[in-house]
Every structure is written in structure tokens, then in C-alpha cells.
């Protein structure tokens, strides 16, 4: 049972990390197009759009790397931030759907011909939220189980 649980958490780690690492590539390559994708959500004041477009892909990158290869506490931090980002993305996509904005989510592609967001994006994000929560719980428990490093005498 413990083996299955461990395999599940590992699979969740790999899946969430792969999603974040895959998602950041197009955004880092073409920040201008990503800024336009952020602007199309019409949720942020114009002054914040470019700053978010500069920083967000790198948050995805560091979270992805932390989930893959970092010690438990940093892994928990990566999962917590990833969970928060996924929750915000899901809310933003939902708002776009409700408002009838025919925009791509800007998740994996910043090209003009990227598929328009639909309910499938919400289902996918719901599954990722579940996996990110599982990774967080496992990593946070591991971190809490280890005694903090002692200060030298």
C-alpha cells in the first residue's frame, strides 16, 4: 500500500513538474506574445501586465525544477506555489468562459492559432490541482518529519 502511495506521489510530482516546465518554454521564448495573452484576460491593470509576463514563466520554471529535484521543504514550496498558480489560472479561464472571450488560455502556446480555451482546460487544471495538493502534502510531511538543522555550538 505504501509502495502504491509512493508511486502515486512520484507520478504526481513528475506530471506537475512536466506541465510547468513545458508551459514555461513558449512564454520565455516570446515574452511579448505572452504579455498579450495576459492582457487578454483583462484582469490586471495595464501597468502590471508586462511585469507579470516577465516573471510568471520563471516562477513556473523554478516550481517545476523544485518539484523534480529539490529537498522536501523546497519541493513543498514549489507545490504550494504551483497549486496557487493553478487555482488563479483556473479562475481566470473560468471568468473568460463566462464573459464569452474567445481567447486561448496562453498556457502552452502564445501563437495566434493556439486553441481557444474551453471546459477541457478546467478539467485538466482540476486534475493538476489535485496532483499538486498530493505532492504538497507528501513533501510537507517529509519536511516536518526531519529535524531542522542545528545551529553550530
Amino acid at each position: 500500500m505504501i509502495g502504491i502511495r509512493r508511486a502515486y506521489v512520484w507520478a504526481a510530482r513528475l506530471a506537475v513538474a512536466a506541465i510547468f516546465l513545458g508551459a514555461c518554454i513558449a512564454k520565455i521564448r516570446d515574452p511579448e506574445s505572452f504579455a498579450l495573452a495576459v492582457h487578454r484576460y483583462r484582469l490586471l491593470p495595464g501597468e502590471w501586465v508586462n511585469l507579470l509576463a516577465m516573471v510568471l514563466p520563471w516562477i513556473e520554471l523554478t516550481c517545476g525544477l523544485a518539484l523534480l529535484a529539490a529537498p522536501a521543504r523546497w519541493r513543498a514550496a514549489g507545490a504550494a506555489i504551483g497549486f496557487g498558480m493553478l487555482a488563479v489560472f483556473t479562475g481566470a479561464i473560468s471568468l473568460n468562459l463566462v464573459r464569452g472571450i474567445e481567447a486561448s488560455c496562453g498556457c502552452f502556446s502564445t501563437r495566434a492559432d493556439a486553441a481557444v480555451s474551453d471546459g477541457w482546460n478546467l478539467v485538466r487544471n482540476g486534475a493538476l490541482l489535485w496532483l499538486a495538493a498530493a505532492v504538497f502534502v507528501e513533501a510537507f510531511r517529509s519536511a516536518a518529519a526531519r529535524p531542522p538543522p542545528r545551529a553550530p555550538l
Binding site: 520565455i28 515574452p31 511579448e32 504579455a35 492582457h39 487578454r40 483583462r42 495595464g46 501597468e47 501586465v49 508586462n50 511585469l51 509576463a53 516577465m54 516573471v55 510568471l56 514563466p57 520563471w58 516562477i59 520554471l61 523554478t62 516550481c63 523544485a66 521543504r73 523546497w74 513543498a76 514550496a77 514549489g78 504550494a80 506555489i81 464569452g100 472571450i101 474567445e102 481567447a103 486561448s104 501563437r111 495566434a112 492559432d113 493556439a114 486553441a115 481557444v116 502534502v137 510537507f140 510531511r141 519536511a143 516536518a144 531542522p148
Partner: protein, 170 residues
């Protein structure tokens, strides 16, 4: 989750702040290293972006996927707001030419094809031109209820391999 000491939550918060700080510093540094033409300015001029103006004017916007659907949907009327010579050089399939400056005189020619409820998509040269938005606003003022702007326009259509039709008004 079993009770966890408060210090562990604080250490987690510290790790989160560390990751966010590192990522932000990397993002900003890499942007600064970009050559000037591709570097994002700290603050973009989004208030004057054509899509912002359309949003404020209450004109719905569609993008490439939506434009492709509308081109194949015979119920949708498509208007090209560019000049006649630009239209003749190449336009979206089924598009009719209606330069914004001549809309008053030329719209009557399409009266037999339109009702006030006909879905309409308008476009012009690309994201830098405002003619299509001006035409969309004008069509709304005339009473057309379903007018959508395609801000990517002819430039984006061609860039992504869309079919172009040359020639004058059918």
C-alpha cells in the same frame, strides 16, 4: 494532516518567498539581457491597445480560431475595412470591402444581404490599424447587434497560412 509545529509553516513560507524571489530576479534579469527590440518595457501601453479600445467600446473581439470559423460560416458577413486597392490585392475569403470612411455611402449596397441581426466580423490590416474598430463602432451605431472585431486582421491571417483572395468587390 497531523498537527505540525508553527516553525515548519514559517520555514515553508520562507522557502516560498525564496523561490518567488529567485524566479522574479531571473525573469527581470533575463528580460534586461534581451536586445532592445525584443525587451519588454516595464509598463506596456496596453490602455491604447486596439483590444482595450474595443473592450471599452463594448465590441466583442475574436481571434484566429474564431475568424477561421466565421469565414466558413455562411451566415456571417465579413467586412474588410481597408482601402479598395488593399482589398483588391488580397483579402479573407467571402470578405466584402467596406472602407470605414465610405461606410455611409457603401453600406446600402449590401442591404439585400444583411439584417440587423446578421452576425458580422470586421477586420483591417492588423493589430496596428484602427479602421476595423471604427467600422465596428459605426455598424453598431447603425443598429447592427452582432458585430465582432478580428484585431489580428489580414496580416495575422496571412502569417498563419490563411487563404487570400485577390480581386475587387464581388
Amino acid at each position: 494532516m497531523p498537527a505540525v509545529e508553527r516553525g515548519e509553516w514559517l520555514r515553508l513560507a520562507g522557502a516560498c518567498a525564496g523561490l518567488l524571489g529567485l524566479a522574479s530576479a531571473l525573469g527581470i534579469a533575463v528580460n534586461m539581457l534581451h536586445p532592445a527590440p525584443t525587451r519588454l518595457p516595464w509598463v506596456g501601453d496596453w490602455d491604447h491597445h486596439i483590444e482595450t479600445k474595443a473592450f471599452r467600446a463594448g465590441i466583442p473581439v475574436t481571434f484566429l480560431a474564431g475568424a477561421r470559423e466565421r469565414v466558413t460560416d455562411l451566415a456571417v458577413a465579413i467586412f474588410d475595412a481597408r482601402l479598395p486597392e488593399q482589398y483588391a490585392a488580397g483579402h479573407l475569403p467571402r470578405a466584402l470591402n467596406l472602407p470605414v470612411g465610405e461606410a455611409d455611402e457603401r453600406l446600402g449596397a449590401f442591404a439585400d444581404r444583411l439584417t440587423m441581426e446578421t452576425p458580422i466580423m470586421v477586420y483591417c490590416g492588423g493589430a496596428d490599424c484602427a479602421d476595423a474598430l471604427d467600422l465596428a463602432v459605426k455598424l453598431r451605431e447603425y443598429g447592427f447587434t452582432d458585430v465582432t472585431l478580428y484585431p489580428g486582421g489580414y496580416a495575422e491571417w496571412i502569417e498563419y497560412g490563411g487563404k487570400s483572395v485577390a480581386g475587387g468587390q464581388p
